[in-house]
């Protein structure tokens, strides 16, 4: 019995190690490549960190006005659409779980249908409509378009958190003399606060990672978001790999750090959303 346990342990940890390499290798590769010059990729093909590594690509990235502008654009667009989505989402999730009113179930269904609708369905009309309303190539326009998926996403995830609160809480607060809005603000919102953190991170990264709408609606250099700016490093089929990977590292590592800081909340959020939702 003891021997099979040892064997099983070896098997378990070997598998975990294989998975860890499979999962982490692209991250390692991104970082080592971000330190390479384009020319040395051909002259010095290596799988290990190269001896001719340099920080030149990072220097170029931080010196690039366009890239800094794109980081700024992404942060502005994604924070605005996240804040609005959470505000609207809390209001809607509260109404859908605590209040009883006619049409509630239909509205809940509309939220889920919007949540399930793929972005690939709507990018064509958005391109035309935004152009018609003179909103293409503006940050404002992109925030509005992003609301089309951040609001249903945030509401859907928040619904799970609101549903997990015992209904007696709200009633007790009102018996103690609080009105509905006070009960929402002082009792319910603090209780779903961890949920708000996870919803904020999931919604923000969802907007930050979005490529298609950004590609279709914001074309001019001064309103590009990060993914579009990185794609535009390539001229025709020529990809400057070192620079692309340096830009990608700068774009990805803070977001990944955010994920690991909020990991516990995020897993809970995904779970509440998909499992109970």
């Amino acid at each position: 019995m003891a021997r099979t346990n040892v064997k099983f342990s070896i098997f378990k940890y070997t598998m975990l190690l294989v998975i860890a390499i499979f999962v982490l290798y692209p991250v390692y590769y991104m970082i080592t490549l971000s330190l390479r010059n384009q020319g040395s990729l051909w002259s010095n093909p290596t799988l290990l960190p190269a001896s001719d590594s340099t920080l030149e690509n990072f220097r170029a990235a931080f010196a690039s006005v366009e890239f800094k502008k794109s980081l700024y654009n992404s942060v502005v667009v994604c924070s605005s659409s996240t804040i609005l989505a959470i505000l609207f989402g809390v209001m809607a999730a509260y109404a859908l779980t605590v209040l009883n009113f006619r049409g509630r179930d239909t509205m809940g269904r509309i939220i889920i249908v919007a949540f399930l609708t793929p972005g690939a369905l709507l990018f064509i009309p958005f391109a035309v409509i935004m152009a018609n309303f003179q909103l293409s190539n503006t940050l404002k326009g992109l925030v509005l378009v992003y609301l089309s998926f951040t609001v249903p996403l945030a509401t859907y995830l928040l619904l799970g958190f609101f549903r997990s609160l015992p209904p007696e809480l709200e009633q007790a607060a009102r018996i103690d003399g609080a009105n509905r809005l006070q009960a929402l603000w002082y009792i319910l919102v603090p209780l779903v606060a961890p949920g708000l953190v996870s919803v904020a991170i999931i919604t923000f990264t969802g907007a930050y990672n979005e490529l298609l709408y950004s590609l279709v609606i914001n074309v001019s250099p001064e309103v590009r978001t990060v993914p579009v700016a990185i794609l535009n490093l390539s001229v025709a089929d020529e990809v400057p790999w070192g620079r692309t990977m340096a830009y990608s590292s700068i774009a990805a590592l803070p977001i990944m750090a955010l994920y690991f800081i909020g990991q516990r909340f995020i897993v809970e959020g995904l779970q509440t959303g998909s499992v109970k939702g």
């Binding site: 692209p26 209040l99 889920i112 709507l122 064509i124 990608s248 779970q271 998909s274």
Partner: protein
């Protein structure tokens, strides 16, 4: 008899009144007020564009012309368009393979993480890495890994002596689809693994203990306790993830852009290419041809959720 039924009627009316007031009750008004921003957003940025798209799919709209109503011409033209049919076929191959891969890998890793482990939290965090990485970055890295001239996969295979000449994983018709599928699985399996793990952890331990007492072996316990326990989660994860996979524009646009020739064109890529050549009516029709699939999936998700409540 009559009194009882009258009392019952009264009680049920009272109940209903308490459950759901008229639309002018204070509760209802507060409810509508709270729903207003979300509903307004969905009206303007969901229902309106969708309506606009349906209308434009029935016209010969291009950029700058006055759209003329042409009925279902765009649709009938699509179904005789060889590239559209290839895109539809590729979509089926791509989505089925990616989902099968994510299921197997996700379930396997969830089971592994569910074992007794030192530092389980650490391993779970490691598994989450591909999901935490922005998709556009992940697919650029995979494009580089697959690169025939400087990519690490070719360097590795050459150093191991497995190949003589580099393989253009994304540029060769025989390899492109499989390579893209593999990269998509890498990026997508953590979502499955983490949710499967959560579902496994929610299965009561007593069930396993009781089964062990009854003499069930490991496979029987998995087959008869674990699998039924996680089935509801599998279904919802599968449906949500399928919609996202049908939708995966960036996975393909950033790696092969649909090539070589049309080997990896899936429907969103086909529609995007149509838009960039300003063929709005036609690409609207192509995008809308995803709707029947979305409706079927949405229907199952809604039904499943109703059952849960």
């Amino acid at each position: 008899m009559a009194t009882i039924s009258q009392a019952q009627v009264k009680e049920s009316t009272v109940k209903r009144a308490r459950r759901r007031g008229g639309i002018f009750d204070p509760t209802s008004i507060l409810g509508y007020f709270m729903m207003l921003p979300a509903m307004a957003v969905l009206g303007i940025f969901f229902a309106y564009p969708l309506g606009f798209e349906i209308w434009s799919s029935l016209t010969d709209m291009t950029l700058g012309n006055d759209a003329k109503f042409i009925g279902f011409d765009n649709y009938s033209r699509l179904f005789s368009d060889a590239e559209y049919l290839t895109a539809a076929k590729n979509s089926v191959v791509y989505v089925t393979s990616v989902q099968a891969g994510k299921f197997v890998l996700g379930l396997g890793i969830a089971i592994l993480l569910h074992q007794k482990l030192v530092a389980r939290g650490f391993w779970r965090a490691v598994v989450l890495v591909p999901y935490a990485m922005p998709g556009f970055v992940a697919f650029l890295i995979w494009k580089l890994i697959y690169n025939p001239d400087v990519g690490s996969l070719n360097i590795l295979l050459t150093k191991l002596g497995l190949i003589d000449a580099p393989i253009a994983f994304l540029g060769d018709r025989d390899w492109a689809m499989a390579s893209v599928i593999f990269a998509t699985i890498w990026r997508g399996f953590p979502f499955w693994a983490i949710l499967f793990l959560a579902a496994l952890q929610a299965v009561p331990k007593e069930l396993y203990e009781a089964a062990a007492v009854d003499g069930a072996n490991a496979w029987q316990r998995f087959r008869n306790i674990s699998l039924p326990g996680i089935r509801p989660v599998v279904l919802v994860v599968f449906l949500i993830s399928t919609i996202n996979t049908i939708n995966s524009f960036e996975a393909i646009w950033l790696t092969t852009a649909g090539g070589p020739s049309d080997a990896t064109v899936i429907l969103p890529i086909f529609a995007y290419k149509g838009l960039t050549s300003f063929n709005i009516g036609q690409s609207a029709a192509a995008a809308l041809s995803l709707v029947p699939v979305a409706i079927v999936i949405t229907f199952f998700v809604l039904r499943k959720m109703k059952k849960d409540q």
